[in-house]
Amino acid sequence: MLVLQNYNKMKSIKLFSSRAYGLILSALTIILSTSIVFANAPQSITDSGNSSQTIIELDHKATSGKTLLIELAGSEDEHFHGGELVIKSDGEEDRTLIARNIMSADLSDDGLLIAAWNSDNQIKLFNSTGKEMRRIGVHGASPIISPNKNYIAYNKLANTGSDLHELSETSPHGIAVYNLVTDKEDIVTTSSDDFQPVAFSDDMTKLYFNSTRPYPTTKNGYSNGVASLWMVDLTTKKVTRLTNTNEELVMRGVMVPTLDVRALWSSDNKTAISSTDSESGIWRFDFNDKGMLVNARKIASGTSPRWSNLDNKIKISTEIDGQVISQELSVQ
């Protein structure tokens, strides 16, 4: 059994407001560029003997002690149809089946609400006993739940069709926010390059998302996309690129990875630890008092960061010669 550990302590990001953040980011990126190395470490997995099943840990909420897992059976080709979504409590082996054919899901902070994306590219809400509560919109992917559980943000997909690629490129698409109180869907971005909401701001007036929108340097309108962290003001719909703002570095291939939805957030919301993949390693994103991103740098190879001592140390996993090595790392 393969176990991919990705612990989530989803917290909201405070607002970015300074007009100078772009310049600061650019400067920081230049400073950091000399130390950016894309490690070639393998994906962190734990082999527990059964190669026919893969378990992906999607989300862990320390406050509720609940963990969301997807159990994938069969070959990699069959994984395209998703797996069984289950929930378990810390310290317990028993698991509760939530739904089948699930691609991804998010768990509310209190561990009571689950937003799941299934292989038919639908988003459905479940409670923690597996009871289906409702469907959200027509087609969508990669849902996240707002801190107050009033909103679901997701990758809006076209209303007709079934193939993920085509649904992603056929309008309407972009990022949508569904208000569970008013029962209305608000399409907040309309670019087919916007693919994954990451987090709401504290006051839920802004949403952070990942996008491959064309980079400024394009030839004859040609698209040169780089996945970056973006922000949309949910009132004005204004979007802003937050990472990879230095054109020269990006053209040289020096890029900051996206901030993963499963990032670890410090209790003061000033530090996020993210591991989007083993190639990029583990990155640290630092925010100032206003929630402005002021630093982004790689701090280690490996994957699967989780707090071993909240705000002070993380435990990470690195696979060396087939052996998974765990180590602690200070993030102070």
């Binding site: 894309f38 994906q43 994938l72 079934s162 690629h165 085509e166 491959t212 996206t258 190639e279």
Partner: protein, 192 residues
């Protein structure tokens, strides 16, 4: 006789205008998914062979499994007009980065058809440029909606994803192969 000449001329003109493609890899050992001609049930490839036996497989490309970083080459001359890089490289079923294609390049060819090279390894897609048949366009990866290293190759009739076609010829596909040499299902590396 005049009619015969007309048909020969048309046929000749058609043959010159259609771009055909080389294998976008240096060698081919196996293909593990083809363009699906039977989306309502099991996958039925160009010659009618039912390749997979689980339902609802809707696959509109050809999957060539290869190890990470294996070079990918342009199938024909053209303009590399679309490029996405920096999608997370981890194989995942839950990534819609790049519309699920992950890191990718798209090349528009002389007949305005487009070839798509998807799920590339992070940091390998080459820049926007005019490109020759056989030029390297990137490396095999597992970015986007993928769970293992492979090249996902698609052929479109235009720059719209809604115009996807099967490059193979056969009973369940079109009569004319878009490969330079289909070679009984294992396309050759020869350029047109």
């Amino acid at each position: 006789m005049l009619l015969t000449f007309f048909f020969v001329s048309v046929q000749s003109s058609f043959a010159q205008s259609v771009v055909r493609y080389r294998l976008p890899l240096s060698s081919l050992s196996t293909i593990n998914a083809w363009y699906d001609h039977d989306s309502s049930s099991a996958e039925r490839r160009y010659d009618g062979y039912t390749a997979w036996d689980y339902p609802k497989n809707i696959h509109s490309g050809t999957d060539f499994p290869k190890s990470s970083g294996t070079s990918i080459y342009a199938g024909a001359h053209g303009e590399l007009y679309y490029r996405i890089d920096n999608c997370p490289n981890a194989g995942s079923i839950n990534s819609t980065c790049g519309g699920g294609f992950g890191n990718q390049v798209r090349i528009k060819h002389l007949d305005n058809k487009v070839t798509v090279y998807a799920h590339m390894k992070l940091g390998t897609p080459v820049g926007l440029q005019s490109i020759l048949c056989g030029a390297k366009v990137g490396g095999v990866g597992s970015s986007g909606s993928a769970t293992g290293n492979h090249l996902h190759f698609e052929l479109w009739s235009s720059t719209s994803i809604g115009t996807r076609i099967d490059p193979f010829s056969g009973t369940y596909s079109q009569p004319t192969s878009y490969w330079v040499n289909q070679n009984s299902g294992f396309p050759s590396t020869s350029c047109q």
